[in-house]
């Protein structure tokens, strides 16, 4: 299967892409629209798309992917606010994820490149079912019918409830919110709008800074959070 996928990538249309575009495509295809993807995984994918740009430079080592190429590009993309993340020795700390801006760029400007079979970014059945469960929740229905009185009574605990996250784990609550919002963006515009409403209402919790913080899973944080 891998061979087939790689051969797909050898399509001539990929050769015209810039490093940044390849890295964005790699991140998207590795599932970076939904969750964090390790630098090595992005690097490996980019290497599969364009060996010349993402391998070691000496001819005899052309078969080795060069992680620094992908890392540098990810850093630049992070400055452009298209991706979030860091590279770290600790696998718990390493990872990259597409921002809303990065995701729209992928979907609008790179649409013809990102859609491949066996793409990790493709919505899974359980994700579709999950969005349906949100649509069926009372909270969603109140929002949909613009029932302001009821909506005013809703708290962050109701958000945690529909996201099925325990409130003892704030970073996971933030992480799960953005994961859900991202695939709602692709699958269901209404749910996406509903989540945008929640994001605005609880902007002290759901914002870029908190989302960045949530990426760090270093064990040293335990001492800080306790």
């Amino acid at each position: 299967m891998m061979k087939k996928m790689v051969s797909n990538l050898k399509d001539k249309k990929f050769t015209k892409l810039s490093k940044k575009e390849i890295v964005l495509i790699s991140l998207y295809q590795s599932g970076g629209n939904k969750k964090r993807v390790h630098t090595e995984e992005v690097s490996h994918r980019a290497f599969q798309i364009n060996r010349d740009l993402f391998s070691w430079k000496l001819k005899k080592f052309k078969n080795f992917p060069d992680i620094t190429q992908a890392y540098k590009t990810l850093t630049h993309l992070s400055e452009e606010k298209k991706v979030f993340g860091t590279k770290n020795e600790d696998p718990n700390k390493d990872g990259w994820i597409l921002t809303d801006q990065g995701l729209s760029f992928c979907k609008n400007d790179l649409a013809e490149f990102i859609d491949i079979k066996k793409n990790k970014s493709n919505p899974q059945q359980h994700e579709k079912s999950y969005l349906i469960s949100i649509k069926q929740s009372k909270f969603y229905k109140e929002w949909n019918s613009n029932n302001e009185k009821k909506l005013n009574e809703r708290t962050i605990y109701d958000v945690a409830d529909i996201l099925k996250v325990l409130t003892s784990n704030t970073p996971r609550l933030i992480e799960k919110f953005y994961e859900t919002k991202t695939f709602a963006n692709e699958l269901n515009e209404n749910v996406h709008d509903f989540l945008k409403y929640i994001e605005e209402k609880h902007n002290d919790l759901f914002n870029e800074e908190r989302r960045k913080e949530a990426l760090n899973k270093s064990k040293k944080l335990l001492k800080k959070v306790l």
Partner: protein
């Protein structure tokens, strides 16, 4: 009538009171040493008052020396109280100490019990020496026989007699001494307790009031001399009423007037460790002079947490007049009247005013209405606030602290890297074996070994600094118990805390389990202090300090070198001036002198003692033209002493509902646990809001609370661990076997539960309370 008494009786005489009855009455009124002290001190005050009456002066003031020599297991405790008041002739001594139940205080306006100082003989031997008009007398009441013994009767006073009492030759005075044998347990109080509690005793609060005091009481002990004064709490006047008790106005005129004042403190006041004699809240009930009790006038108000903010006084001469009236009737063998059927106060001086006396109802009616209104208003205004009352809050805070400790193991080895480290049999190792530490900084050091390497029956270890370097490092951990390493399952570690004090290289810190046997050593370099980043050139370490009432705290102040302090400054120049101290709330002790301690700073310490509960007391110091200020809160002893002591967790019961869940962790404040008081299960146990959720005091609610907090802590622990240290739960998941995965998970939950369950239950439900309850339902036959 069957028996008729006609004609004159052949003999008519006073009934003899058996010694047994006297002993019983005596013992009842002297349930602790405090009662004896109160009697001795109030007697001195009475004596000074009588002197002032003779001189036709309205006010009086005198000196009183309290000497205390605590004993204990082997030695007797001796206390003596000396005054320079009237002195007593032998006749007076005989009248006061040789009779029981006779009215004693003469023209002084205190009570009529006719008991008092001599009751102290139920605690120990009471000796009295006194000089009156140049004649010396000495008596004693023996503790065992209760016999009145005379040693000197009206002898011409010599200089040695004057010295014993502590008065100048030719003056009058008395000394009373109580000697408590070592066997009399429970009566040997600590000097520090006396210093702290004597001024707080309600009966002495007027006599020792810092502004209105009538005697200057000096406590002299082995190590210290202190003048004891009472400082009332700071508060806002809430209500003030003056009224007459009409029913008694005709007979007692102006004396039936009542003055009531109620104040409210911003902070909850101290409950005197549950001993109502020393509580700070409450209304002092004062007669002409004596304070008879301190309470909120009704036991249901006394237990209301909202009541702990209120204090004040109710003053009426009627109390004293009714007492005297009853006494007179008794002495003249008249029957008691309907309006004054029995003594208005408890003559044993334990319970204060007797609620079944008809005058008490009238005296208390209006003040009680006011207090009740205040409590109810406070209760209603707390609509959206927490459900827990002061008692529950105190327990929740204790639980939060304990739970934080129980989570320590999640991160405590965080600073050490032990990957790839092997520890063999009989080997102990500090990891890393060489470390650096800056002067003034604290650090944890970890000594690792294997469990089998421990000395038999010893699970503790301690550290010592090698000889010659003791001044360079302070050890903050004494004997510590080992903990199992989470990073490496076969290892255990001992965690010690040290602090650098003087720069030096290659200092050895040795670990011992037994004396003389070094297990391992750490080489440490103590490096010179780092520069301090100043916000201001002269600054306190903290912006706000919390100090317990009656405790002293050292405040650390930094001064920039050379801008504020240089090494050329004289001693006088290095001493800061202190301003703005509200002496009613705070007391500064000693001087605040600076010395250069670091590369760019000098340090000075200002010692401050908290006097009365108060908030935001500003203190300003000045050094070399620069000024710095800080704020100090004086808090109750049962409140947090300082921010450092505060738990990282915060537990509260809120009038909220979170759907099916009985609690939630606040995502914006991740260590704050909110327990859902409106959850059906909790509401059932808590009871009604208008009654102050009384169910929270029941054992069944506490038991439910223990389970909820345990569950919440497991949730917190497992979610944190799974996020930041997922290796803890490796092995739980078996994708091919869901049944086993669920079982593994349930076992893990039980394992984590065991960390919290016992401790949480024991804090919420104390063994003694639980045992009492169990005993109630035990069907043991006698």
């Amino acid at each position: 009538m069957i028996i008729t008494n006609t004609g004159k009786p052949l003999i008519s005489k006073d009934m003899k009171v058996a010694k047994r009855v006297y002993r019983q009455l005596s013992d009842e009124s002297m349930s602790s040493l405090w009662e004896a002290i109160i009697e001795f001190v109030t007697n001195v005050d009475d004596s000074y008052e009588r002197l002032s009456l003779i001189k036709k002066e309205k006010k009086w003031f005198g000196k009183c020396l309290f000497e205390y020599f605590p004993g204990g297991k082997k030695n007797s405790t001796v206390l003596a109280i000396k005054d320079q008041a009237e002195g007593m002739s032998y006749e007076t001594l005989e009248k006061c100490f040789g009779n029981y139940g006779e009215k004693q205080s003469g023209t002084a306006s205190r009570g009529i019990a006719g008991r008092g100082a001599k009751d102290a003989a139920s605690i120990g031997d009471v000796s009295v020496i006194s000089i009156k008009d140049g004649f010396f007398s000495q008596i004693k009441i023996d503790h065992l026989t209760r016999k009145f013994q005379v040693f000197h009767q009206k002898v011409k006073a010599k200089s040695s007699h004057y010295r014993m009492i502590g008065v100048k030759n030719g003056k009058n005075g008395t000394a009373i001494q109580l000697e408590i044998s070592a066997e009399k347990s429970g009566y040997h109080l600590r000097t520090s307790d006396l210093i702290k509690k004597i001024p707080l005793h309600y009966a002495l609060s007027e006599i020792l009031h810092h502004e209105k005091k009538t005697i200057s009481l000096k406590l002299k002990s082995k190590n210290d001399d202190s003048i004891l004064s009472y400082y009332e709490p700071e508060g806002e006047l809430i209500d003030e009423k003056s009224f007459y008790v009409n029913k008694y106005k005709e007979k007692f005129g102006e004396d039936s007037k009542v003055i009531f004042k109620l104040f409210k403190s911003k902070l909850p006041l101290d409950s005197g460790e549950g001993d109502k004699r020393f509580r700070q809240w409450g209304v002092s009930i004062i007669g002409k002079k004596a304070v008879h009790e301190k309470s909120l006038l009704d036991s249901t108000y006394d237990i209301a947490p909202e009541g702990k903010y209120y204090f004040g006084y109710l003053k009426s001469n009627l109390i004293t007049r009714l007492l005297n009236d009853y006494d007179e009737n008794q002495s003249k063998n008249k029957s008691a009247t309907k309006e004054n059927p029995h003594a208005i106060i408890d003559l044993k001086r334990v319970d204060g005013l007797k609620r079944d006396h008809p005058a008490v109802e009238e005296l208390f009616r209006i003040p009680k209405e006011i207090i009740k209104k205040c409590i109810l208003e406070d209760r209603n205004s707390a609509e959206n606030k927490n459900i827990e009352n002061e008692n529950t809050k105190e327990t929740l805070d204790e639980l939060a602290k304990e739970c934080a400790k129980l989570m320590d193991d999640l991160y405590e080895e965080d600073d050490t890297d032990i990957e790839g480290i092997q520890i063999d049999q009989n080997q102990w190792r500090f990891i890393p074996p060489k470390q650096n530490l800056h002067v003034g900084k604290r650090k944890f050091i970890y000594a690792y070994t294997r469990k089998e390497n421990l000395s038999s029956n010893l699970d503790t270890a301690y550290i010592e600094v090698s000889k010659g370097s003791e001044d360079c490092v302070i050890i903050h951990s004494k004997k510590v118990k080992y903990k199992e390493s989470k990073k490496k399952k076969n290892l255990i570690f001992f965690k010690f805390e040290i602090e650098g004090t003087e720069p030096k290289k290659d200092i050895s810190i040795n670990v011992f389990q037994k004396e003389g046997q070094i297990r391992t050593s750490l080489k440490i370099n103590v490096l010179a202090e780092e520069n301090r980043n100043f916000q201001n050139e002269l600054e306190f370490e903290k912006d706000i300090y919390n100090i317990k009432a009656n405790k002293v705290k050292k405040l650390k102040i930094f001064a920039k070198v050379p801008e504020v302090v240089t090494n050329k400054m004289s001693n006088e120049e290095l001493t800061a001036k202190v301003f703005n101290v509200d002496t009613n709330h705070l007391k500064t002790i000693g001087q605040c002198k600076f010395s250069i301690c670091g590369p760019n700073y000098a340090i000075g310490y200002l010692q401050v003692e908290g006097r009365t509960l108060s908030a935001n007391n500003e203190i300003t110091i000045q050094l070399n033209g620069k000024r710095a200020s800080t704020f100090i809160n004086v808090l109750n002893k049962d409140e947090e002493d300082d921010e450092e002591d505060k738990s990282k967790f915060n537990f509260q019961i809120l009038p909220n509902k979170y759907g099916k869940s009985r609690y939630q962790w606040d995502p914006n404040n991740p260590n704050s646990l909110e327990i859902a008081g409106e959850h059906d299960q909790l509401r059932r146990y808590l009871g009604k809001k208008e009654n102050g959720y009384p169910g929270q005091e029941t054992s069944c609610f506490k038991s439910l609370l223990a389970e909820i907090i345990t569950e919440a802590m497991i949730q917190k622990r497992m979610t944190l661990n799974s996020r930041y240290d997922p290796s803890t739960y490796v092995g739980l998941v078996d994708k091919s076997n869901i049944e086993d995965t669920i079982m593994n998970f349930m076992f893990k939950v039980d394992e984590e539960k065991s960390i919290f369950l016992e401790k949480i239950h024991k804090i919420l439900l104390k063994d003694s309370i639980l045992n009492d309850e169990i005993r109630k339902f035990s069907k043991i036959l006698n």
